[in-house]
């Protein structure tokens, strides 16, 4: 484990140094990664500005959901999202086999070599949104925070599962970066209060696709709103995580390239 952490720290350092070679581009990318993620917040603020609102949700509460979502994304994306891009490039160039030759599990090597520093903009932005929103709604009580932490963790698990599946798909469907768009559009639904879901399919967003677990449930915990159904979301996040891990391993085994 210690060896892995040392390796990983090295990977992170390398990622930063590479990006710092072109600082202007790095800063612009950081800002834009953040800007894209703030679009739902902009939409929400403008909607509330015209007097519209989600039933039973104040503006600060919705912003808290979006802040939690961004923090979750800001933690998982630097670790897992760069991998999807890097793997797809490597498979296309035929250099992926080099990873298979090395004395570690390919997933670990992918993670180490593909730390994505520019996604850290999301983390910073998410923290700002969260603290701003909490400043408006008041600090949560300790039991609420205690509930928030595990729920937030399961949200991270689901994010990670999705990104692993994305990587596995990119190995098969080489070069189709638009798969990212699908991932983003689907998860974007998790940035709004649950009232936007029609009642009939709201259950589906808890299990088997715990999109509500990404941010809505943890934020509800902080706000002392009902979080009914969270065990469903937690279980399905864990099941999906292991299923995606299994798919990942399966695709690596079945991967046939010219290098064979």
């Amino acid at each position: 484990m210690l060896g892995f952490l040392r390796l990983y720290a090295h990977g992170i350092r390398l990622a930063f140094l590479t990006r710092l070679a072109d600082r202007f581009d790095f800063i612009a990318s950081l800002l834009v990664m953040l800007g894209i993620e703030l679009t739902p917040t902009l939409i929400t603020v403008l909607l509330y500005g015209q007097g519209l609102s989600f039933a039973d949700w104040t503006l600060a509460q919705v912003i808290l959901v979006q802040g939690v979502f961004l923090v979750g994304k800001g933690i998982t994306f630097p670790i897992f999202a760069g991998m999807a891009w890097a793997v797809s490039e490597k498979v296309r160039e035929g250099t992926f086999e080099l990873l298979l030759l090395k004395p570690r599990h390919p997933l670990i090597l992918c993670l180490v070599t593909a730390y994505d520093a520019e996604d850290l903009g999301k983390l910073a932005g998410g923290l700002v949104l969260m603290f701003f929103a909490l400043g408006q709604t008041g600090l949560p009580a300790l039991p609420d925070i205690a509930l928030f932490l595990p729920l937030f963790f399961f949200g991270l698990v689901f994010f990670a599962a999705g990104l692993m599946l994305l990587t596995a798909l990119l190995m098969i469907w080489v070069g189709n970066f638009r798969l990212y768009e699908i991932f983003d559009t689907v998860t974007a639904l998790g940035q709004y209060p649950p009232v936007i879901w029609p009642k009939r399919i709201r259950q589906l967003a808890l299990a088997p696709f715990p999109i509500l677990g990404l941010a809505v449930l943890p934020a509800s915990a902080l706000l002392h709103k009902p979080v009914s159904g969270w065990p469903w979301a937690a279980c399905s996040a864990v099941v999906l995580f292991f299923a995606c891990l299994w798919v990942w391993n399966g695709t690596v085994k079945r991967l046939k390239t010219a290098g064979g």
Binding site: D22, F24, D25, F26, I27, A28, S29, L30, L31, V32, G35, I36, T39, L42, I43, L46, L47, G49, Q50, G51, L52, S53, F54, A55, E118, W173, N176, R178, L179, E181, I182, T185, V186, A188, L189, Y192, P193, V195, I196, W197, P198
Partner: protein, 260 residues
């Protein structure tokens, strides 16, 4: 040519079949969650705003453009030199390519998504003011191309414009009204929004398509008829066209200096 080339990438385009309706669905759910069935905001009812989001997705397909990416790639790899040998300017060739892949997209992406949106609305989504609407979509098409080509020309001065270009795409979508109608932005911002070309490329065609035949379109707080809005769009297009030619001749001198 472009048809054949892009038919090979049909799965790329098919991704839009998923993301387009999803984006529309998110917006449609947002409208349903925030606006009562008979509720009105900014003088329009819920159904009209849902139609707005539908038109935004569809016109987005038609306008979509990556001339900036393409041009920048050609310049950076040096392949642009080949195009200088052709008996017509690259500006023209790239436009022909865009016509090709957008007309293909019209068949593969826009038509099925139009059918889906119409099904959701319960009646076919048809624009009002068909003639000015068609004209303004065509002008928007040209204008988007001009804007993006100008951004691509930046490649002659900078080596890595990835971050900057993504910044501009974000601005284009948000300030063009792809997510929320520009009428939702504070009145104080509106003059700025309409000084930028983005609003004219996307928002104006949508507004013309939604305005009742005798109605008017609000541009920065002033009311205009659809035909006046169309004329304004032509003006913006002309200004950008002239500016682009100036920028292009500067860029060409720059390129010869480098490739020499």
């Amino acid at each position: 040519m472009t048809w054949k080339e892009w038919a090979a990438y049909r799965t790329h385009m098919a991704v839009s079949l998923l993301t387009g309706p999803l984006r529309f669905l998110i917006m449609a759910w947002l409208w349903t969650a925030t606006l009562a069935e008979k509720g009105r905001v900014l003088d329009h009812g819920r159904e009209e705003w849902v139609a707005y989001s539908g038109l935004a997705v569809l016109i987005g397909y038609v306008l979509f453009d990556f001339a900036d990416w393409n041009l920048h790639m050609l310049v950076r790899t040096g392949r642009f030199a080949n195009y200088l040998l052709l008996p017509f300017p690259h500006l023209f060739l790239a436009f022909a390519q865009k016509l090709g892949h957008r007309s293909l997209a019209l068949l593969i992406e826009a038509v099925p998504v139009w059918a889906l949106i119409s099904w959701w609305l319960g009646h076919p989504l048809l624009p009002n003011n068909p003639l000015p609407f068609m004209l303004s979509v065509i002008q928007g098409f040209v204008l988007t191309y001009l804007i993006n080509y100008a951004v691509g020309l930046l490649g002659f001065w900078m080596t890595r414009t990835e971050g900057l270009r993504r910044c501009l795409v974000l601005l284009r979508e948000t300030l063009g009204g792809a997510y929320l109608p520009l009428a939702f932005f504070p009145l104080a911002w509106q003059p700025v929004l309409f000084l930028l070309p983005y609003a004219w490329a996307l928002y104006i065609p949508i507004s013309i398509g939604l305005a009742p035949a005798t109605g008017s379109i609000a541009i920065a707080g002033q009311e205009f008829t659809p035909w006046q809005a169309l004329a304004g769009q032509s003006l913006v297009m002309a200004v950008w066209g002239v500016g682009l030619f100036g920028l292009q001749s500067l860029a060409m001198r720059r390129f010869l200096a480098a490739g020499g």
